[in-house]
Symmetry: C2
């Protein structure tokens, strides 16, 4: 059920935002008057690798990808940016990754950094919002690391589906409209496109998900997808296996 509650809403927006039913306001939303709105076509660059950090950004609608390109031509999508996500941190005054819109009609709010930083200086609420945004970004990185650390492609893809469904809906959800192409998923999970495709069809064949077209997915067996999520300590009741705390002297000879 696509919600079309506002005729002013752009068609591309309604498709990608209808699953986001979060009531909670996202960081920087209150400051939107300060922002410039940028509408992007697919593949359009929002900022370059190694460019100076002059702005904060927030996705209004659509999807963007933060990535780094390797020498071998492959691409690592380090972060997938969905509506409400704030980005544009960076380190030591530089962005170390590039950001592009991943679909046509993506709208991004761009906040002048100097003004926001000045505001944050005086207004603790603003400062807090920026901190929160940073924490959310870190959480996404953590989730990706855990996913990349998985052994099989099916697990990676399965977990990606769960995560993206949750992020799009603002909570656990059984329906997903994949916001990005197979290629982007592959570059995100460090798999080949073919493997992503095979994983999806395999999950479908086993009755874990259902595919409607190429982008709509319905999650049937959530437990099967969540496999390997619970940590092992939980199973044995919070009691972790004792590690031998034997002292072990480290005596490496000096060198050079």
């Amino acid at each position: 059920m696509i919600i079309r509650n506002s005729s002013a809403v752009r068609a591309t927006e309604s498709i990608w935002t209808h699953q986001r039913v979060t009531v909670r306001q996202s960081p920087l939303e209150s400051l939107e008057p300060l922002a410039a709105r940028i509408q992007c076509t697919r593949g359009q660059e929002i900022y370059k690798e190694d460019s100076p950090v002059n702005y904060w950004y927030r996705i209004i609608s659509g999807v963007a990808r933060r990535f780094s390109a390797r020498a071998d031509g492959r691409r690592q999508i380090v972060d997938l940016l969905l509506p409400g996500d704030v980005f544009g941190f960076g380190a030591r005054g530089k962005h170390h990754f590039a950001v592009e819109a991943a679909i046509d009609g993506t709208v991004v709010a761009r906040y002048p950094r100097s003004r926001l930083d000045a505001l944050a200086e005086s207004d603790a609420r603003i400062a807090r919002e920026l901190r929160d945004a940073a924490c959310e970004a870190m959480s996404r990185l953590h989730a990706l690391i855990l996913n990349l650390g998985r052994t099989t492609a099916e697990e990676k893809v399965g977990h990606f589906l769960l995560k993206i469904a949750e992020r799009l809906a603002g909570g656990p959800s059984d329906k997903v409209v994949l916001p990005i192409s197979r290629e982007d998923i592959a570059d995100h999970l460090a798999l080949s496109v073919e493997t992503v495709s095979r994983s999806l069809t395999q999950l479908k064949r086993r009755g874990v998900i259902r595919l409607i077209g190429t982008r709509q997915i319905r999650i049937i067996d959530r437990r099967a997808l969540a496999k390997g999520d619970e940590d092992q300590f939980a199973i044995i009741g919070g009691q972790r296996p004792a590690e031998p705390y034997r002292a072990r002297r480290l005596a490496y000879s000096d060198y050079d």
Copy 2:
């Protein structure tokens, strides 16, 4: 050459800190009077998964690992904490990972969060230091994601060596004393211990590195280790391959 410029320095410290010749002061170093010093044995828990965030921490000497345990018994080391590194962020008032000392004699400074937050409120310099620490943590996560995204085990291990050498020495360095076991490296890079071992011997055999004992490593051919580091855009002179910006309407039928 091990630096023993202070007789008060503990033996275990000198082993792991002698490569750190950074002059730059690390965040929170100036506030150490506020901190409690905790000395840990190997495997000792510094904080648990899902525990409340009451403190900031900084590694004085030694090594700690931030990790998450999976249901299958494997472990993902999400972050490797070396002297000077600040940790203990968390999200929504909880730590989502556990931290343990990775070697005996690891010393950690523990700062009461409430006091630091109050200080940060009034002192912009402290606030900045905390932000910087968060940025560094994010950089480490980024680096790990890029490494996990690599295709071959040898590349992963090679890059890990470069990174860790750089972090330990405070800049590019040819000598490394690995601060952690093969098992920890494996759990960090999402490989098996055997593969880590094989990768190292392979690099040795090809003359890329030299192994002195099990932990001391000397980097011979830096370029071979850095393979795949440069991004592809650099090669073609900052000009990225044009992506077809063709408009593509997304018209998925409504569902349910």
